[in-house]
């Protein structure tokens, strides 16, 4: 972390996104607050269905159909949640760009890759046709597509999965965004290509000061790429901290269990730690802690009383009523292994 306070570009305050009827809403994102600084990569991890994608989509104002967003989304001090569609469109894709979770479905199979990059440049920059071509080549080059100039005329199906993902990144970067929302940009890719793409995102963030929110399932990706990490469970935030704080010194029972279930420093072929039960349905969450049904240290109040976020160290916050018991429980487990 840098000493002088870096500029905060995005600040979420009590973000809440719900679907369904107003009487019985399905709350996909429930009271989430965090901030992202310029040049910083924030990891967002959590189980399938925990609300990671909906958080990113809420920032961009694309939770249709029928998503309702409440709370504040302060983008450089301006509340995006209060903007209308026309004003939002000026921010979207230009200042804030997104790489979607399904890369194959977000490229148009009928248009050449060059044209798709160019479309984005028309929409968000004042470049003329010649300059657009040069910029498109430069972008493909930057994301490591060999022979970029000769590939502008190729269609998406002529690229491998890893290359298509890099094309998506090139399109997202076309407008020099100040914030990149990357939704599992490497989940479908091999470790070798994943490694190449993460190193690229890292260097762009470092060299251009671009802020990044990186959604991932993989704690290894977090360890190797992110400056800070936010852990979600059941639409709520349960722990936030620097990467080393969360990976080496997690405090929330879900984060502790998640890290413990990854095989590392355990004898081969011995049983792995596993969090009991299955992720909850969003419409069956208790009013208290979302993790209470699976938590090994839950107390009687956990079901009804929402645990507040408490500071446990500089940058490090945890939402749990029993964090000391949690630490003791998992330390004991460790000793037993």
């Amino acid at each position: 972390m840098v000493n002088d306070k870096p500029e905060t570009v995005l600040e979420l305050r009590h973000l809440r996104t719900e679907f369904g009827s107003r009487e019985y809403p399905l709350v996909a994102v429930d009271d989430i607050s965090f901030e992202v600084n310029a040049g910083e990569i924030l990891g967002l991890v959590g189980e399938s269905g925990s609300g990671k994608s909906i958080t990113l989509r809420s920032i961009l104002g694309i939770v249709r159909p029928r998503g309702r967003v409440a709370g504040e989304i302060l983008w450089k001090g301006r509340d995006l949640a209060a903007l209308d569609e026309a004003a939002l469109r000026k921010v979207r894709g230009r200042e804030i760009a997104m790489i979607f979770q399904e890369p194959m479905s977000s490229l148009n199979p009928l248009l050449t890759v060059g044209l798709q990059i160019s479309e984005n440049l028309v929409a968000h920059t004042g470049l003329d046709a010649k300059a657009r071509r040069a910029r498109a080549t430069e972008l493909l080059d930057m994301v490591g597509i060999p022979g970029a100039r000769d590939r502008l005329g190729d269609y998406p199906h002529e690229f491998s999965g890893g290359m298509r993902q890099r094309v998506m990144i090139a399109i997202a970067l076309a407008s020099n965004p100040q914030l990149l929302l990357a939704d599992e940009p490497t989940t479908a890719l091999d470790v070798t290509i994943q490694d190449q793409i993460l190193r690229l995102i890292q260097s762009l963030s470092r060299d251009l000061g671009m802020a990044v929110i990186l959604v991932t399932h993989d704690m290894g990706v977090v360890a190797q790429t992110c400056d800070r990490v936010a852990v979600m469970y059941g639409g709520r935030l349960c722990e936030v901290g620097t990467t080393s704080q969360v990976i080496a010194d997690a405090r929330h029972p879900y984060a502790l269990g998640l890290l413990r279930s990854i095989p590392r420093d355990v004898a081969p072929r011995t049983p792995l730690y596993s969090i009991p039960g299955a992720p909850p349905a969003l419409n069956a969450l208790p009013p208290g802690c979302a993790f209470s049904a699976r938590c090994p240290v839950a107390g009687p109040e956990c079901l009804d009383l929402r645990p507040p976020f408490e500071t446990v160290g500089q940058f490090h916050k945890v939402a749990c009523h029993h964090r000391f018991e949690a630490l003791a429980h998992f330390n004991q487990q460790e000793a037993a292994q």
Partner: protein, 337 residues
């Protein structure tokens, strides 16, 4: 090749020079232009022994032929050339009763628990069908066996009369395992068995697999892209590149000291959980060459940092290096053996 004499016990499966070529369907424009059909060489001379009751992990980049190998072994593909021996008998071209017997003893389990189960059949129907087709039990013994199987995979008896959509992903994966076990197989082929599951649920299924294997003496082929998981469950691991084994050896030895430059790069690219291990440059540049045009000489030479003149012309054979085998001309010099 004197691999057979080196092994202490007789292998359960013995694969020699196995190749699988697919002819790519021609696009209309190819047909009009009179271009010949393209041939995808998915497997190019695989040599591999699988020992009884071992777990053999298979790793490699996407498209390198892992699933094709798994499907050839499970009898779902007829290989183009080469041999697969099971308990000493060739299984290529088996017909009638002996084919059915082999198909029962080697069971494939699939990645996608959603599509591999019939949505309109209850768990009981699914298991009953499998049991009756192969005459594993008759009459009332079938129902008793169904409950035994559910117990084996830790599903409650009440699960029998439910439909697949009523289960979570991890539970569906267990139903798939129960179906495979209903045929009392000798060998399970698990192709990305837990890849689609959340980390917290993965551990439950992996633990079950380890336990079943020890109790039932099963041989398991474990294909997965999560290297940490493969290391944890496997006795031995095979690394595959462009349809050929480039290294095979005891799991711990291979992971702590890979001998082949490709294994070295693959392991280095896997994101470590230690934030202190960060690299700025990717571990391996370039992509897997197209299986339509396998490079001559060593198939890895276009990406290999150690490639020399000899590598461009002479194909290295799989030979003993350290405690395992590697296919690299310079394996000793490179890995300091």
């Amino acid at each position: 090749m004197n691999m057979l004499t080196v092994e202490p016990a007789a292998p359960l499966l013995s694969i020699r020079d196995l190749s699988m070529r697919f002819s790519k369907s021609r696009s209309l424009s190819d047909t009009l232009a009179g271009r010949p059909r393209q041939i995808v060489s998915a497997l190019n001379g695989v040599d591999l022994d699988v020992m009884p009751a071992e777990t053999l992990g298979i790793v490699g980049e996407s498209g390198c032929g892992k699933s094709t190998l798994a499907r050839c072994i499970a009898g779902l593909h007829q290989p183009s050339s080469g041999d697969i021996r099971f308990e000493g008998q060739s299984v290529i071209g088996l017909k009638g009763a002996s084919r059915r017997a082999y198909n029962r003893r080697v069971q494939m389990m699939f990645q996608d628990p959603y599509t591999s189960l019939n949505p309109r059949m209850t768990v009981r129907d699914t298991l009953r069908e499998a049991i009756s087709v192969h005459h594993m039990r008759e009459g009332a013994a079938i129902d008793r066996r169904i409950y035994e199987l559910l117990d084996l995979v830790r599903l409650p008896d009440g699960a029998a009369d439910k439909y697949p959509h009523e289960f979570s992903g991890g539970q569906r994966q267990r139903i798939g395992i129960a179906r495979a076990l209903s045929l009392e197989p000798t060998c399970l082929v698990a192709d990305e068995l837990v890849s689609a599951l959340d980390v917290s649920v993965q551990a439950q299924v992996v633990n079950l697999l380890l336990e079943l294997q020890d109790n039932l003496g099963l041989t398991v082929l474990f294909v997965a892209h999560d290297l940490r998981l493969v290391r944890h469950v496997s006795h031995r691991v095979a690394v595959i590149y462009l349809g050929a084994i480039v290294e095979v050896g005891p799991s711990e030895a291979l992971f702590s000291r890979p001998r082949h430059p490709y294994s070295q790069a693959l392991l280095a690219a896997a994101p470590s959980l230690d934030p202190a291990d960060r690299r700025r440059a990717p571990a391996l540049s370039g992509e897997l060459p197209s299986p339509l045009a396998i490079p001559p000489g060593c198939p890895f030479h276009v990406r290999c940092p150690h490639a020399a003149e000899r590598c461009r012309t002479e194909k290295p054979v799989l030979r003993p290096v350290g405690g395992g085998m590697a296919a690299c001309h310079f394996a000793e010099a490179i890995s300091g053996a």
